[in-house]
Symmetry: D2
Subunit: 161 residues, 4 copies
């Protein structure tokens, strides 16, 4: 009965146009696989773009919000989980995802990758940030997958599951 | 796009036969309204019974788990959110529910009612524990609804939403 | 090496003059025992009064704050722990206290008592709220101690430790 | 009245002999400055070594524990804060530290550095892991300080405070 959940993590306010495009495409493809999309739930950046992508293909979207109220929530969420625990909710994001895809890089995203690895989760990195790939790949090689495209990310997720 | 979420809270291992029956019926009726059921997600007591009830009518079930891994999860969950934060997850349970229904009473349930009231959520009490009704009704009268049956609980939830 | 920690919980903005007076006296007596005082750390109500009481006798004061920054902190804290997790921090308050003393009553305080009982902690109730005493005493009789004065509360804590 | 808190973060079970030695020295020097030492509180690795170092110079030691009970606690803690929230407590570690010193590297440590940067905290890196220095320094240059020795770490902390 349990559904597969794919977490897409990435920058909020600082996301680049390319990251937003990738996030939207990831959300769309995740939905098309019949997987549930999980994000940090805010109405900005990779979270919002991925959720909108998933909804464009009638996927189910979950947001694990840092806040305890309705402010700043993505309009593209089906299910809003309010944690009121700020960035500590990043640990819930990754523990609840069968696979974590990092789309872009930033301090929040780095914390999610690190917490995922600490929790022995598999993480797929799709980012232009070369230093992050070198660092995380060395940190826990067998759990880190580096991909070059959205299509690769989905194929890798499929292989991992 | 956001779906309505009804939280059903109640005892785990110590739930009575009557509470389990009520929880199952609550889950079933919640699903029949098209609402999502949210529980604490474990495979015992009111959480498990409500989730099974919801699934019996093809509802969608979310569990907010105290643990960080697969042990002790209800088989009747569609979506498992792993918090790994023990009873502190009770705050997430209530903040994420549009209405909270307490089915039975115990220390964990009491904490959820109190956290719900602290967060200005509406709480419906369905329990034989008279002292809890007197206490919580006095604590925040305008947010506490005392009901005598599962059907009353659902009707009250509908009126609140 | 580990020091004894006594948690004093109670209303914030809504604390009565009597509760504030009791909280100050509790903090003072806790410090005089050589115990550390733990509160919710905000600059209002029972938290603030107890912390000021402890400092008046050169005690050590810890505040477990709901916020992630300096706003609203009691001036009487030696050690500020910033959780940024709102009322979910109430579980940390009680798990970290060797004994919990509830001074007054409210939704937040009720959540702390309930979480303490869920975690099998001993709780001392000093409050005019009769309904809360009846409810919590019935909920877990062997862990709940009802006292009538600050001096009784401290004597009871000493007996429990 | 508020005391200065320095967080020392680093590997647990996998800490190297050199990291343990540095951690002990850091704890000792932190105590000698009159600062409070904050760690993750467990009885292994950098946490335990730093706490023992601080106690060797009569410092005050706080541990923010991932667990909710006494198992696995460092003997060198004066104050144990039980979160029962696993690695999500890493956010509390860094939010509660005036300066964070990373001594060594690992997934947990990386999550703490990232969460610290997300929360706009200053982080001092003392590690042989070159890739981590390159990555984090690029991520938020103005908040990351790279040092080559324990003495440098303390001097840098002093300059930051």
């Amino acid at each position: 009965m349990r559904k597969i959940i794919i977490g897409v993590m990435g920058p909020g306010e600082k996301a680049t146009a390319n990251e937003l495009q990738n996030a939207y495409a990831l959300g769309k493809l995740i939905a098309q696989q019949g997987w549930i999309l999980l994000t940090g739930g805010r109405n900005v950046g990779v979270m919002d773009a991925a959720s909108n992508g998933a909804k464009s293909s009638n996927g189910l979207t979950i947001g694990i919000l840092p806040s305890g109220n309705q402010n700043g929530i993505s309009e593209a969420l089906d299910i809003a989980i309010f944690t009121d625990m700020g960035n500590a909710r990043n640990n819930i994001n990754v523990l609840s995802s069968d696979v974590v895809i990092a789309c872009g890089m930033g301090a929040g995203t780095a914390s999610e990758i690190a917490l995922a690895l600490k929790g022995n989760k598999k993480v797929i990195l799709l980012t232009d940030d070369e230093e992050s790939k070198v660092f995380f790949k060395k940190l826990l090689p067998e759990n880190v997958y580096i991909v070059e495209s959205v299509v690769d990310a989905i194929a890798t997720a499929k292989a991992i599951l």
